[in-house]
């Protein structure tokens, strides 16, 4: 009888030990994902969802926030930013679903909204959703995002569709080459989202320090030109992040960036997340679109 009791005690102890161990493991936290819908007060981190059109950004957004942002199988469906929140581990996150864009050299209004947010909204983490079946084309955007920020997680989505087309992607090799975390997912069926959350929280909290790949520009004189411009921009606009990228855009003759520098409102493009609420960005971008 006594023996039996001891046995039960032992079992209990080991169970609680196991629980203590679990609490520190990311897989345990993932099970504790709380979808907060539009309730996103007092967030600790802002996460942006970027990616080429029709790679499933809104599907990832819905899966994490529990919202029902309209999804549809056609490129260009999301034209405004949608925002929602979720709770993961000990932190609250605000998630921003951006319109799809092929590049950050924006031409249309929806692309501009996406670009302005990644560039000037300064999200804590930028998740680039990538179509595994069309990796090469999607990487063009990834490489451009890596120019701007190193707090990036790649969500390698639609791996089931790639498999149907007999394409398999080595996510570890990709992660090594890009220098940022890569998480394979099938967002439509909620697969891989726990790992994605873990990666997001590690980048947000600074546990993962990324050393992102930078495109090798083989052009002579370029480095010299960029560094000269960077120091001038830093002097005139001390609050602007990503000066290297701005310098490259100026050298490339990007009209919008040139205009912003001329008018001196390059600094004002540095939106704080607070004043991004509502239609702020949309109307600003829109009016400039019609002015042109």
């Amino acid at each position: 009888m006594e023996k039996d009791l001891n046995k039960t005690n032992q079992v209990e102890i080991s169970e609680s030990q196991a629980q203590a161990g679990c609490a520190s493991c990311p897989a345990h936290n993932a099970a504790n994902l709380q979808k907060l819908g539009v309730d996103m007060e007092n967030w600790d981190f802002v996460v942006a969802l970027a990616g080429n059109p029709n790679t499933g950004k809104s599907t990832v957004f819905n899966a994490l926030t529990g919202l029902h942002q309209h999804t549809g199988n056609w490129p260009g469906k999301t034209v405004t930013r949608a925002e929602g929140g979720f709770d993961y581990g000990e932190n609250r996150y605000k998630l921003v679903d951006l319109p799809g864009t092929y590049s950050l050299l924006a031409t249309s209004l929806d692309e501009e909204i996406a670009r302005d947010f990644i560039l000037f909204g300064q999200p804590d983490v930028t998740v680039v959703v990538v179509d595994a079946a069309r990796l090469e084309r999607n990487l063009n955007l990834v490489l451009q995002v890596l120019e701007i920020t190193n707090r990036v997680v790649i969500c390698l989505n639609l791996v089931d569709e790639a498999e149907r087309h007999n394409i398999s992607v080595d996510d570890r090799r990709l992660a090594r080459d890009l220098g940022v975390p890569v998480v394979p997912t099938i967002a439509r069926y909620d697969e891989g989202l726990e790992e994605l959350l873990a990666a997001i929280s590690e980048v947000a909290s600074g546990k993962t320090q990324a050393t992102p790949y930078h495109v090798k520009y083989t052009h002579p004189k370029l480095d010299q030109a960029v560094s000269k411009l960077v120091s001038q921009i830093k002097e005139a606009f001390p609050q602007v992040p990503n000066t290297r990228w701005v310098a490259l855009r100026l050298l490339d003759g990007d009209e919008r960036i040139i205009q912003a520098v001329e008018k001196g409102d390059l600094g004002e493009l540095t939106y704080t997340v607070e004043n991004l609420d509502g239609l702020g960005v949309d109307t600003v971008a829109l009016k400039s679109g019609f002015r042109q």
Partner: protein
């Protein structure tokens, strides 16, 4: 201008010159080279591609020059036929529950409590009946139409529609992506106007915004379906009437598409001249739709949201109608004054005063046009024995009864056809007008987008009426 800003621009210009003209190409080249190298290392293609590529086979069919268009019309007809024939039974059930059972029950409670007749009238015969009518008539078709449409969207059919229509839009001097914003407009014009943001050129975007109203929205589908059922379906043998009604509705929708082309063409030749811009349209892979999720989201997010909007507008409209039908000046109600005043103009257009008053009442929401018309018809034509008395929005038990009532109110086949035409071509609803203003930021273009369709609608029904009368004597 700040001198340090100028300095930056100037040194950027100098450096650009110094680097040489192929700078942009070099940057893009480096980007593409690196992307392709990294992708090559990560991607493996084991084995060869499958011999039969289902996606490509479907694409060849639905975007073929010969079959693309007929298949589109066929799909659209099938969707409406399912909607029309499927919505009848649940509509009838909802009607008998909300109006035959609950309404008398509430009336008897009010009577027992001794509540004054006018409070009873405003609340039960005005607000409650208007709302109940809108729910009974709109909920079933929407609950069938939206899931079907969303399934097509989820499957990946919409970009193929855009692909098929692209060359027509380009010939009309508009942007090919307008096909997508137009398709969104079939759901809701306000949503369609917002979706024009995918068009980058302001000129082509304005064309898309102004013409979006010609995409028949879900506030107008029920009107089209009902009038088609009672005026056109009734002419056909019983077993074909559902199909014929569906075809009539599809014709109106296609006429809307045609008007979109014509107006886009006219605008791009006159006030909005300019080059057509080119774009890449990516045809996404077909994806098996997730049936249950689609049902859930389209019922909860689309159907209930649209229904809620209709209810919000029907409630006060019911009150206004009841009051205007019961407030008498010299023994004649306000509503009757208005109807009689507009009647000569209405008849000239092949419509009547009742329809014009209904459209004024329904500016906030097109959904309540039909109930308003029926109520006013009863009042003006003095038909007795139907409905609950003056100022009550009611539903009739069958299409035939509605037909009888409308015929006694002086309606002909021409009135029915012209009502369908005018319902397609008139001013956008207030929500859409507000959205147009927000998107363009211009009062001028908002006015153009609001007034152009009304004027066109009046011209179209006027000429239809004249030609009709010429041939039928």
């Amino acid at each position: 201008m700040n001198s340090s800003y100028e300095k930056i621009i100037k040194s950027a210009r100098d450096l650009r010159w110094d680097i040489g003209g192929d700078f942009h190409e070099k940057i893009m080249e480096s980007l593409y080279t690196d992307a392709s190298r990294i992708a090559d290392r990560a991607v493996t293609h084991p084995g060869d591609t499958p011999r039969f590529d289902l996606d490509r086979t479907i694409d060849r069919l639905v975007t073929s020059r010969i079959w693309g268009f007929p298949l589109m019309v066929l799909l659209l007809t099938a969707v409406f036929w399912l909607t029309i024939s499927g919505a009848n039974v649940p509509s009838g059930l909802l009607y008998s529950l909300l109006i035959d059972t609950v309404h008398p029950f509430l009336k008897s409670i009010f009577a027992t409590l001794g509540i004054p007749w006018w409070i009873d009238g405003v609340l039960l015969d005005g607000a409650y009946l208007a709302t109940a009518w809108v729910v009974a008539v709109m909920l079933p078709p929407m609950a069938i139409f939206f899931p079907l449409f969303t399934l097509l969207e989820d499957f990946g059919y919409l970009p193929r529609v855009a692909f098929n229509l692209d060359h027509i839009f380009r010939k009309a001097g508009a942007h090919g992506k307008q096909a997508l914003s137009m398709t969104m407009g079939f759901g809701c014009n306000a949503a369609g106007v917002i979706s024009t943001r995918i068009i980058d050129s302001p000129r082509e975007r304005l064309i898309a915004i102004i013409t979006n109203n010609f995409a028949l929205c879900n506030g107008r589908w029920p009107t089209q379906i009902l009038i088609a059922t009672i005026f056109i379906g009734a002419l056909a043998p019983a077993h074909l009437s559902g199909l014929i009604s569906a075809l009539a509705v599809v014709s109106i929708a296609l006429l809307g598409v045609l008007l979109t082309f014509v107006v886009s063409w006219a605008l791009s030749r006159t006030v909005l001249k300019g080059e057509v811009s080119t774009f890449n349209l990516e045809l996404p892979p077909y994806r098996p739709p997730r049936i249950l999720q689609t049902l859930y989201t389209s019922v909860i997010d689309r159907t209930l949201v649209v229904l809620w909007r209709a209810v919000i507008f029907a409630l006060p409209a019911g009150v206004v109608l009841w009051v205007s039908a019961n407030l008498l000046i010299n023994g004649v109600s306000i509503a009757e004054y208005l109807v009689n005043f507009l009647n000569p103009f209405g008849l000239l257009l092949g419509l009547n005063g009742v329809i014009l008053v209904a459209y004024i009442v329904a500016i906030p929401a097109n959904e309540i046009v039909i109930p308003t018309i029926l109520m006013l018809t009863v009042m003006v034509s003095g038909v007795t024995g139907v409905g609950e008395g003056s100022g009550v929005m009611f539903e009739l038990e069958s299409g035939l009864q509605t037909l009888e009532l409308l015929t006694r109110g002086g309606w002909t086949l021409l009135t029915g056809i012209n009502l369908m035409l005018f319902s397609l071509v008139h001013n956008p609803c207030s929500t859409t007008i507000y959205t147009i203003y927000k998107e363009t930021g211009s009062i001028k273009w908002t006015t153009v987008a609001s007034l152009l369709p009304v004027v066109m609608g009046i011209v179209i029904v006027f000429f239809t009426a004249q030609i009709w009368r010429l041939f039928t004597g």
